[in-house]
């Protein structure tokens, strides 16, 4: 069975963009037929990561892939050219944050997703991929 992927890229430069990311991810989730709870999870995870990209990455982008094939789902890739994360393990632990706040972004997004992968290093920016499958 062939896999089709519809891709959409959104720039994340302001808090209005974060809202737009939520809306577009919601649309993608609905299109692949994810359950309401799963839709909510992926949109919430996207919101966390989009905000992270904005607040800690100095702005960036997200690629939203709607996948239909043997598996159906939504794949999101957030990337930025910010200062990167020095210690990923610590960052994934809840409560960690360099700014103010609850610091649940990364760990939370991971818990809400079926797949989570992160590449980041000081000076090399950050790339985070999450997926939510039907």
């Amino acid at each position: 069975m062939p896999t089709t992927t519809v891709s959409e890229r959104l720039e994340i430069r302001s808090s209005d963009d974060v809202v737009r990311v939520r809306q577009r991810v919601r649309a993608a989730a609905v299109a692949t037929g994810l359950s309401l709870v799963d839709q909510t999870k992926v949109v919430t995870a996207a919101s966390e990561l989009a905000r992270n990209t904005l607040d800690h990455g100095g702005g960036g982008r997200v690629d939203i892939d709607t996948v239909e094939g043997v598996r159906k789902g939504v794949v999101l890739v957030f990337s930025d050219e910010g200062k990167g994360i020095k210690d990923i393990d610590t960052a994934l632990r809840d409560g960690y944050t360099t700014g103010g706040g609850l610091g649940l972004g990364l760990g939370g997004a991971k818990r809400l997703s079926n797949e989570f992968a992160i590449e980041s290093a000081p000076g090399k920016g950050t790339r985070i991929r999450i997926a939510r499958w039907k």
């Binding site: 809306q23 839709q39 949109v43 919101s47 809840d94 706040g101 609850l102 939370g108 818990r111």
Partner: protein
């Protein structure tokens, strides 16, 4: 910039969030509420989130902050109408909002504030049972 309206209902303030808020709007709401609690001498704040399809950690933080501030000002904060999908997601996210009281709807939330307890919620709904 649009701000979210705050209604005065008896000795409580009612906020109905119906839009997907961007961060500036949420921060403005926090400020507005804090000011109004003082100026209105409110005993409670009701936040109706029944229209919200997503509550992320930013909004969660906002709700916690509002609850903390109103507690200092001797007022209760009750968050009402959370949707099941949102509740499940928040728990998975790791946000349990323990500093915030919760109720199923505005009516019950109001009784919690005026009666300062869940028992009062029952009296409000009973038909002389």
């Amino acid at each position: 910039m649009d701000r979210i309206p705050i209604l005065k209902l008896g000795n409580a303030l009612l906020v109905t969030i119906q839009v997907d808020m961007h961060d500036r709007l949420a921060t403005a709401l926090e400020e507005d509420l804090t000011a109004r609690i003082v100026s209105a001498g409110a005993r409670g704040v009701l936040i109706d989130i029944s229209a919200l399809e997503v509550v992320d950690s930013f909004i969660g933080r906002m709700l916690d902050n509002i609850a903390a501030v109103s507690r200092i000002l001797d007022a209760d904060t009750v968050v009402v109408g959370m949707r099941p999908a949102v509740a499940i997601t928040l728990v998975e996210l790791g946000l349990s909002l323990t500093g915030v009281k919760t109720a199923l709807n505005v009516e019950r939330g109001m009784s919690m504030i005026s009666g300062r307890g869940r028992l009062a919620a029952l009296d409000a709904d009973d038909d002389g049972e």
